[in-house]
């Protein structure tokens, strides 16, 4: 299980990385944390001729909050995000989600940008981006593009990222005082891919839900926002009846994809249960 031979280039800056992408085109691949890419290369299912290592680029590893917008550099490792007080305060959803990602040693190396660019349908972070209404910032020699998360993730391992673009950062609104972040997933073993997982951002006013972004992962071809379920919550308080209804709507609107062990019906059932349990937890926390 040894990869193809490749050319290795360590990029010292974002601009250098972008220039290298331009130079090597489709034969090049970005190496960030490598926690998905390296095993895929070992299996010879990914065979880039050139690896552009961006893991040393300090400017991609910053976390900043300004004007109510949290910006996380794509090169930040999971562990950096998890341990960031700034993230804990302004986007607690991410701190709830990251402990579910694989195990410690993987979280010490894997990066936010790497996970988003890969767009594994079972990955936790794309769903978080949907729920947080985040913007994915990509950059090429032509400058930056800011892509709403909802447009960025387009299918299994498929995103809006062009060949010559580097994912450089994500931006998301700081959590408001009337917002609740909730993350949860159901898996067979700790650290496994989920059977169904959810990342919810709820906004409440006067005891009623004013906005609800219910995002799911590991259930479809990519992370998915249950918009009808979200709309059904708006204007309601979290009664057990509305929770049941919304759980049914979520389970009804998602196009479920089977995985190796769980068929579509299983995904649907667990999504319904997951939604109910998450909303119930939120309700319990509010009171």
């Amino acid at each position: 299980m040894k990869p193809h031979l490749f050319q290795y280039i360590r990029a010292e800056s974002t601009q250098a990385a972008i220039a290298l992408l331009e130079e090597f085109g489709e034969d090049a691949q970005i190496l960030a944390g490598g926690q998905s890419l390296v095993p895929t290369m070992a299996l010879r299912m990914a065979n880039p001729e050139t690896l552009i290592d961006i893991s040393a680029i300090a400017e991609l590893q910053t976390i900043e909050l300004s004007d109510g917008v949290l910006t996380i550099g794509a090169g930040c490792r999971y562990v950096d995000v998890l341990n960031s007080d700034l993230v804990a305060k302004s986007a607690p959803l991410l701190c709830q989600a990251i402990p579910y990602i694989a195990h410690d040693a993987i979280r010490n190396r894997g990066t936010i940008g790497g996970s988003l660019a890969l767009a594994d349908p079972a990955s936790e972070l794309p769903a978080c981006m949907l729920a947080l209404d985040a913007v994915i910032i990509v950059e090429s020699k032509d400058g930056q593009r800011k892509i709403p998360a909802g447009d960025f993730f387009q299918g299994t391992y498929f995103t809006d990222l062009a060949e010559n673009e580097l994912l450089v950062a994500i931006e998301m609104p700081e959590i408001a005082s009337n917002q609740i972040h909730k993350f949860y997933e159901i898996s067979r073993r700790s650290g496994d891919y989920a059977i169904s997982g959810g990342a919810f951002v709820l906004t409440h006013e006067d005891g009623c839900i004013a906005d609800a972004r219910l995002a799911y992962f590991a259930v479809s071809d990519c992370a998915v926002l249950a918009t009808k379920a979200g709309e059904a919550l708006v204007g309601n308080s979290l009664s057990s009846e509305i929770i049941e209804t919304v759980s049914d709507i979520a389970a009804g609107e998602i196009e479920f994809f089977a995985d190796l062990y769980n068929g579509e019906a299983m995904k649907k059932q667990l999504t319904k249960v997951l939604t109910r349990r998450m909303l119930t937890k939120i309700h319990d926390g509010m009171n």
């Binding site: 299980m1 040894k2 990869p3 193809h4 031979l5 490749f6 050319q7 290795y8 360590r10 190496l31 490598g34 926690q35 390296v38 095993p39 070992a42 299996l43 690896l51 290592d53 893991s55 562990v79 694989a102 195990h103 410690d104 040693a105 993987i106 010490n108 190396r109 073993r189 700790s190 650290g191």
Partner: protein, 163 residues
């Protein structure tokens, strides 16, 4: 044949140089070029934890890192930690409690255990089980490992100088 590139880094406290092919994993370099064979390769997919090493203070899978990325890095393997009282106690308790049978997972398990006690000085059994769930052991059924880590963390070990 593969090209090779010069590399300089710190390994178990000593500055060293190596020449590596770009496709050589950190695990393969440590094992095949530097003789540090206690870093075991169990899956080359990042799933088993037997190849855990510490890079720049963080425990990582050496099978998921290319050696060539290690320019300027500080690497510690399970064979390092000379004079580290926590590692010494873990080793002793692992052996005494029979927290290893075949010994193939042990190096990675010791690093995971050390990490946990560093961040959570008095972990309970559930925390220990959760933390070592990134390390696969086929022999013990884990209980003896949990016992050995618990004993290390909870019993008469002065780690103050360590923290």
């Amino acid at each position: 044949m593969d090209p090779s590139y010069a590399l300089s880094f710190k390994l178990n406290g000593r500055q060293v140089k190596q020449e590596v092919s770009p496709r050589t994993s950190l695990a393969d370099m440590l094992r095949n070029q530097m003789g540090l064979t206690a870093t075991h390769i169990g899956c080359e997919q990042g799933a088993c934890g037997a190849c855990n090493v510490v890079v720049d203070g963080k425990t990582v899978r050496s099978c998921l890192i290319f050696a060539i990325q290690m320019e300027g890095a500080e690497i510690e393997t399970s064979q390092g930690f000379e004079g580290d009282p926590l590692m010494a106690t873990l080793r002793e308790n692992f052996a005494n409690r029979n927290a290893l049978q075949c010994g193939f997972c042990t190096g990675g398990m010791l690093l995971a255990a050390r990490d946990l006690i560093k961040t959570t000085p008095k972990p309970n059994r559930e925390e220990i089980r959760e933390h070592i769930s990134g390390n696969f052991c086929r022999c013990t059924g884990y209980e003896a490992i949990v016992d050995a880590i618990w004993k290390t963390a909870h019993e008469a070990l002065d780690l103050e100088g360590e923290k």
